[in-house]
Amino acid sequence: MTASRDKFGRPIVVVTGMGVVTSLGAGKTDNWAKLTAGESGIRTITRFPIEGLKTTMAGTVDFVTVDPFFCSPGLSQRLAEMAAEEALEQSGRGSKGDFPGPLFLAVPPVELEWPQRRELSHDTGKQELDYNDLLRVCGGGKYNSYHRRFTFGSVASYLAETFGTKGSPISLSTACASGATSIQLGVEAIRRGETDAALCVATDGSVNPEAVVRFSLLSALSTQNNPPQGASKPFSKNRDGFVMAEGAGALVLESYDAAIARGAPILGVLAGCGELTDSFHRTRSSPDGKPIIGCVRKTLADAGMTAEQIDHINAHGTATPENDKMEYLAISTVFGEHAGKIPVSSNKSMVGHTISAAGAVEAVFSLLTLEHQRIPPTINYETPDPTILFDVVANKARDARVTAVMSNSFGFGGQNASLILTREPI
């Protein structure tokens, strides 16, 4: 196909570079080998004490160092940097430190953390203290680096400077759909003709005590701590929640014309993206599934495709009782009989839920699925939920003809976003 515009007259958006880091390892090669071998990256948390926690495992990334001090935005930044470096190297677009397009970054919300609070507390010299005491010792420049580190724009600011992206870098959060949103923003900018390249990065390094407690208090996490590798059970009858995890995914998006003009490798096509908000509840989906159904339909319409043209679904598949049920309801409503014939898999069974990063991490895995014509398994699928009649790629990777993948992301706050990725322009 030689047309550089899609059937709606918009520039076709292609992927020319991608990078990924998860608890399985750094880089596409390592991740793909382990993912298709059905390995789990979930392990018992060693980063901080786990006494008193109901959930004691996570997909932490423990093999990187964070300078100058460890904290969640520091780790998020390092993971994002690694993924972006890999994506830019593969793409070859721009030159080192000079990428000719904007940055769209999905990043967890940032706040001061306990080690810093303790440092201030110690500084007060008091044995009984409140925020007024902390305020008295925090100024004067001693902790200037904490302002830089714990403002919301800090990770994007660093990445924009490091990679020389153009314009105002956008830091965004749409909860568990953030990664998909970062890609969507890039697709839209290229379609508008504002740019012919965009760097879309999504990262999450936020496994810290308070984050675990917060999700735990919302009863969102699996408590099947032993063995940790068995905890994440998407689509199983005995699933009991998601497993927090860390990672990052990065995509270099370009217009088809720009990629062809410089002879760049085309790794896949961002054929469609869609989103639709659920206004039912802060953490639960509308019981009729209409917003998710609408999101999936909008995405198909945006790509100009029919459900029959999708031959694999990279599911959101968090393994919470609610998500997997609603995802099946939506897919089976939209896809009809075809729903039971499409191989479905959840990467989260192995890498856990990388939250802000998940949409981009799973987009990378979807593109690798297209490249290798091999679908990673959903592990821990021993006791299928009899009400979820997906063709789950159970426990072992499956070779299959895959031309178009739908990747779903659904999050707290009614955030629903889906992507369709294809090998060739449609």
Binding site: F8, G9, P49, I50, E51, L53, P109, L112, R117, S121, K126, Q127, E128, L129, Y131, N132, L135, C138, G140, N144, S145, Y146, H147, F150, T151, F152, G153, S157, G167, S168, P169, I170, S171, L172, S173, T174, A175, L185, E188, R191, R192, E194, P209, V213, R214, F215, L217, L276, T277, S279, R282, P291, K298, A301, D302, G304, G411, F412, G413, G414
Partner: protein
């Protein structure tokens, strides 16, 4: 909505058709406008001393957030924002219009919610008194944190609450990154409408300045205004910002969409531009402001500038140097009047600019340093500036509709 606009058609004209303001000066366009005209400023130098803050003016929350259960699920910053978003939808005449709300874009500029200060202090006190149990933090947090507090703290849950309370349920995106998040929210929403990717959007942000955890974050960089209030342009001796409390939302839509439903515009949103100066050398930020100014479009001169200048240094001095090269412009600093509302400051500036244009007058100066001059004619163009205290610069051009 599937994008079907052909690439050859020109950009759509975009109008501001709804304004929602709930600030330290009151709620709604009239209360805020009257306060601006009377040069009234609501500032608190005592309760957070030595820090100066602008407290939110109380409202009857029930009028925009009817369910008490919804109010309880939110922290102050979300209530302020959800309230102001409702005012904007009312102002645009789309409140309750399910057909429009169901396809409306929403881009919210947000920080995060307030921590439970008692829980934090309790843990730190226990540790300071020698409790070195490794599980102490986990156990205290598990037992002391309100289970749904997290939802009142999550950045994207302001948008989530607006969806739940007001039914805005087309798209929902939350941008973070302090001041410039508000610029980018307007920039992306405008680009989507201008290009035909969308017809109508709700944009804005909210901020609660009465928060010790935020004062702490900014005091790391010595950014808070201390002891005594002074206008933004008169803080050379004691630089800094006084955190403000405000929700500022706007409904923007294509002219065709507004005309088809008979909506009246306040003003046109002609352009929004943004960049991130590296701010490595003195003058870097000023250079970026000059570049953005040149990208705005045709400027007639002798008009007005509404800036969110913070009072923090060196950013405010750089901006002042930039402004001094445009001495024929009547400048107004929203930071003097409303305080610094961080993510909400740029939407607040857009709202105040649109109000000024629709009322055919710029509000009077609140400054004796010479930066802000009188303006007697009705403004036809207002440039809104949002240069952040640390990173990110943006501008918008708001114009009268001819």
């Amino acid at each position: 909505m599937t994008e079907t606009t052909s690439a050859t058609s020109g950009p759509a004209e975009v109008w501001i058709t709804g304004i929602g303001l709930a600030t330290s000066l009151g709620e709604g366009p009239d209360a805020n406008w009257n306060a601006l005209e009377q040069r009234r400023i609501n500032v608190d130098e005592k309760n957070f001393a030595p820090y100066v803050v602008h407290p939110w003016a109380p409202v009857n929350l029930d009028t925009q957030i009817p369910k008490k259960g919804d109010q309880r699920q939110m922290e102050a910053w979300q209530r302020i924002g959800t309230y102001a978003a409702g005012l904007a939808l009312d102002s645009a005449g789309v409140k309750g219009n399910k057909e429009i709300l169901g396809r409306m874009d929403m881009i919210v500029a947000a920080g995060g919610g307030e921590r439970d200060l008692k829980v934090d202090s309790g843990v730190l006190t226990a540790e300071a008194q020698g409790n070195s149990d490794p599980g102490l933090l986990n156990e205290r947090l598990m037992s002391d944190l309100r289970p749904t507090l997290f939802l009142a703290q999550l950045s994207n849950l302001l948008a989530g609450n607006i969806a739940i309370v007001h039914g805005v349920s087309g798209t929902s995106r939350t941008f973070m990154g302090e001041e410039v998040a508000g610029v980018d929210a307007a920039r992306i929403a405008l680009a989507r409408i201008a290009s035909g990717q969308s017809d109508i959007a709700l944009i804005g942000g909210s901020h609660n300045g009465e928060r010790r955890d935020l004062l702490l974050l900014y005091e790391f960089g010595d950014y808070n205004l201390k002891d005594k209030f002074a206008p933004v342009w008169s803080r050379h001796e004691h630089s800094g910002f006084a955190l403000g409390s405000a929700g500022a939302f706007l409904v923007i839509e294509s002219r065709a969409h507004a005309e088809a439903r008979g909506a009246k515009p306040y003003a046109r949103l002609t352009n929004v531009v943004a960049d991130m100066s590296r701010r490595k050398q003195p003058g870097d930020m000023k250079t970026t402001l000059e570049k953005l100014w040149s990208q705005l479009g045709k400027l007639d001169g002798g008009e007005a500038i509404v800036t969110g200048a913070t009072g923090a240094e060196p950013a405010t001095s750089e901006e002042r140097a930039f402004l001094s090269e445009h001495p024929d412009y009547a400048v107004r600093a929203t930071g003097t009047v409303f305080g610094h509302t961080m993510e909400a400051q740029f939407p607040l500036g857009l709202a105040v600019a649109a109000l000024s244009i629709s009322r055919g007058a710029l509000f009077p100066p609140t400054d004796s340093s010479g930066v802000e001059i009188e303006m007697s004619k009705p403004p036809a163009q207002i440039v809104v500036i949002g240069a952040s205290h640390w990173r990110g610069e943006g501008m918008a051009l708001v114009e009268a509709i001819k």
